[in-house]
């Protein structure tokens, strides 16, 4: 029996993957889905803040030092320009924010009364807050020196020189925000789930295609039993599913370099369990369809809506409560929930309930399909 299964598997794989369209369908589309997901949910990286500076305080040392300080900040790209240019660049979106050091800026700092500075942006406080905080901190320090030195210029110079060369200084360390990357990888898994399900139906559909071209019955008139034949199809399906998972994760982690926020092992386990469910669903689709066209229609009726309702495309949090309740009955939701928990630091062991549920879903679909297959007794198409 094992030899027969292997023979059927090799033949099916050979026939399937000699077509370029199969490579696109089983591997190209999931990768494209991940790419789309990264584009849709992208923007979670650390782009440079484009800052324009108008130094209206001429060649004053304090103003020049301020410009230098801003330029030395991490994640900032500084460009000096005049007031007109700044307005234009901000309006056209080429700059995120602009700083205007007006005449008297340096004198204000020297006298301990900071002022003559303005921050402009067309993008709001979210963009200006960082620059504003750094600038305030710097100005507060200088003006404090100015107040202490009073009118004593040599004392100011000494204190200021000490400040500039101080051992202590503000070190800006950027804490990476991985929530966006997590969201991207979460939605990428959503796309992968959908493609796994459609791929599974496509492969199981071969049973129907073989019925349509009558080879199924020719196979059954050989020593191969219907059980052996269907088992070979299931194994082919599982092999392709696993390969699909590996390719998708490879692209997700190593090509698109997304921080998925979890280890690969647990991901493989959860997706591996879901592949059983996918194959189970695909067999149910095939068992209840009379031909491949019917299976295609049933696939559209099942896969897309359930993926949508379970949050594969749109985060479940933004959906109404009623939809969330429906999602509880969909296996895709339990995969996504498992990933969410893994991203939050949960161990694989703590997800035993989710894994049991996924296994139960798979088992249920396999049982339904085998019951239905057992009742199919239609040989009319053969002889």
């Amino acid at each position: 029996m094992i030899k027969d299964i292997v023979w059927l598997m090799l033949s099916t794989l050979q026939r399937t993957f000699r077509k370029k369209s199969s490579w696109v369908l089983f591997f190209g589309l999931p990768v494209a889905g991940i790419l789309v997901s990264t584009l849709l949910y992208g923007g979670a990286g650390q782009p440079l803040l484009r800052v324009g500076v108008v130094n209206g305080d001429g060649s004053e040392r304090l103003a020049a030092d301020t410009v230098r300080m801003i330029g030395n900040l991490k994640e900032v790209k500084l460009v000096e320009m005049d007031a007109g240019e700044l307005r234009n660049e901000l309006a056209s979106g080429n700059l995120d924010t602009g700083i205007v050091l007006e005449r008297g800026y340096s004198e204000g700092l020297r006298s301990g009364k900071p002022g003559h500075v303005g921050i402009q942006s067309a993008k709001g406080a979210a963009v200006t807050s960082y620059i504003k905080a750094m600038l305030n901190q710097y100005m507060d320090n200088i003006s404090a020196i100015g107040r202490i030195a009073g009118s004593d210029q040599p004392k100011f110079d000494k204190l200021y020189a000490g400040f500039q060369s101080a051992n202590f200084k503000l070190v800006v360390n950027t804490v990476t925000d991985i929530s966006g990357a997590k969201r991207m990888s979460y939605q990428s898994i959503g796309f992968l789930i959908m493609f796994m399900m459609t791929s599974a139906v496509n492969l199981s559909e071969l049973i129907l295609v073989n019925r349509e071209n009558r080879t199924y019955f020719r196979i059954l008139s050989s020593p191969i039993s219907a059980r052996t034949y269907v088992l070979s199809n299931i194994f082919v399906n599982l092999c392709v599913m696993f390969a699909q998972i590996l390719v998708a994760l490879f692209f997700l982690i190593y090509v698109f370099k997304l921080n998925v926020g979890m280890a690969i092992g647990p991901m493989l386990v959860i997706l591996g369990l879901f592949s059983l469910t996918s194959v189970g669903i695909s067999l149910v689709v095939v068992a209840f369809s009379k031909n491949s066209a019917g299976a295609g229609a049933l696939q559209n009726f099942i896969v897309m809506p359930t993926c949508l309702l379970s949050g594969c495309f749109i985060p479940l949090e933004i959906m109404p409560n009623a939809v969330r309740r429906i999602a509880d009955f969909l296996p895709q939701n339990w995969v996504l929930e498992s990933f969410e928990k893994l991203q939050s630091g949960a161990s694989l062991g703590s997800l035993w309930f989710n894994m049991m549920l996924l296994f139960a879903f798979g088992l249920m679909f396999f049982l339904i399909a085998s019951y239905k297959f057992g009742r199919n007794n239609d040989t009319r198409n053969f002889v």
Binding site: K3, D4, W7, L8, S11, R15, R18, K19, N213, R214, T215, F217, R218, I219, L220, S221, S222, P223, I224, N377, T379, N381, F382, V383
Partner: protein, 313 residues
């Protein structure tokens, strides 16, 4: 040794009895013609012999082994050539035969040799790398046969292997059937072409309503028809022929107008002298008679007499 033995075979679909207590024995080296109109029960019988359908009751033995108990053995010795093509269009001729041969446990050099042999046998040795989608109807039919031969079965069931093909391919297939038989294969052959069955079959069974109603050699079957005469009348045109009026003539059993030529075939009781009345009826209706011939009963006469139907009905 009997290659196929059927005892009391019955298949019911709900209240409908497709095969009704059928019994049949086919010996080694026979080409056995299995004749029946559509719905007569021959396909259901073949499906049960192929283990695709489970009988409601009865027993089928292949090479003296009960297929219910030794299904694998039976299948290993059975080759099926289905009426509808059962080949993969996206596999080459070689891959098709090799794949189906592999289902019977053939591997490696043996599979390669048997595949080449089967393709050679059906005259496709030069098309091993060709795809069936590029084949003619006759070539596809031959490939369909080759797929059933690689494992060298003792019993081959051929269901309408010559449907819809050119005369050249048809002759090739008929010669192949004879050659297979000479090589020791037992063949069950079904066809809608009565002349094919007459030409190649050593024994024939006529099936109707799920039962075998006659069985024997062609000579034995035609010899049973002693009370029927077969009258062939050629006319200028069939337009003037009043078919219903001909049926009313005493002794006339069936009247058939040929689809292809202006010929009327009348089966009539041999004991009733009605030829003059038949001819008078035709002339009265305006038909111009060209020729009249009273023929010896043939297989078609037998079939028509026994079933009341044409084979192609």
């Amino acid at each position: 040794m009997n290659v196929l033995e059927i005892r009391g075979l019955t298949k019911k679909f709900g209240n409908f009895i497709a095969v009704d207590n059928m019994s049949l024995t086919i010996g080694e080296g026979e080409i056995f013609g299995f004749l029946g109109a559509n719905g007569a029960g021959k396909s259901t019988t073949i499906n049960m012999i192929s283990s695709l359908l489970r009988p409601t009751s009865g027993e089928i033995k292949i090479l003296d082994k009960d297929i219910a108990k030794m299904s694998r053995f039976a299948k290993l010795n059975l080759g099926i050539v289905p009426q509808d093509l059962a080949i993969y269009e996206d596999m080459t001729a070689y891959e098709n035969v090799s794949f189906f041969g592999g289902l019977y446990g053939l591997r490696g050099a043996e599979l390669k040799a048997r595949t080449e042999e089967a393709l050679e046998f059906v005259g496709l040795a030069d098309k091993v790398k060709g795809y069936p989608k590029n084949f003619s109807g006759g070539m596809k039919r031959r490939l369909n046969i080759a797929c059933a031969l690689a494992h060298k079965p003792k019993l081959i069931i051929m269901d309408e292997p010559t449907v819809g093909i050119d005369p050249q391919s048809r002759n090739y297939i008929l010669n192949s059937v004879r050659k297979l038989n000479e090589d020791g294969c037992t063949i069950i052959y079904t066809s809608h072409y009565m002349e094919e069955v007459e030409e190649i079959c050593s024994r024939i069974a006529i099936v109707d309503h799920g039962k075998i109603i006659a069985e024997g050699t062609k000579e034995q079957l035609t010899a049973t028809i002693t009370d029927v005469k077969d009258i062939r009348i050629e006319v200028k045109s069939l337009v003037e022929v009043a078919e219903d009026q001909l049926r009313l003539i005493p002794g006339v059993r069936t009247v058939k107008l040929d689809d292809h030529e202006p010929v009327i075939r009348i089966h009539s009781d041999a004991a009733v002298d009605n030829l003059n009345r038949i001819l008078k009826q035709l002339m009265d209706s305006g038909a111009e008679i060209r020729a009249v011939e009273e023929q010896e009963p043939n297989l078609e006469t037998v079939f028509l007499t026994l079933t009341g139907r044409n084979l192609r009905d």
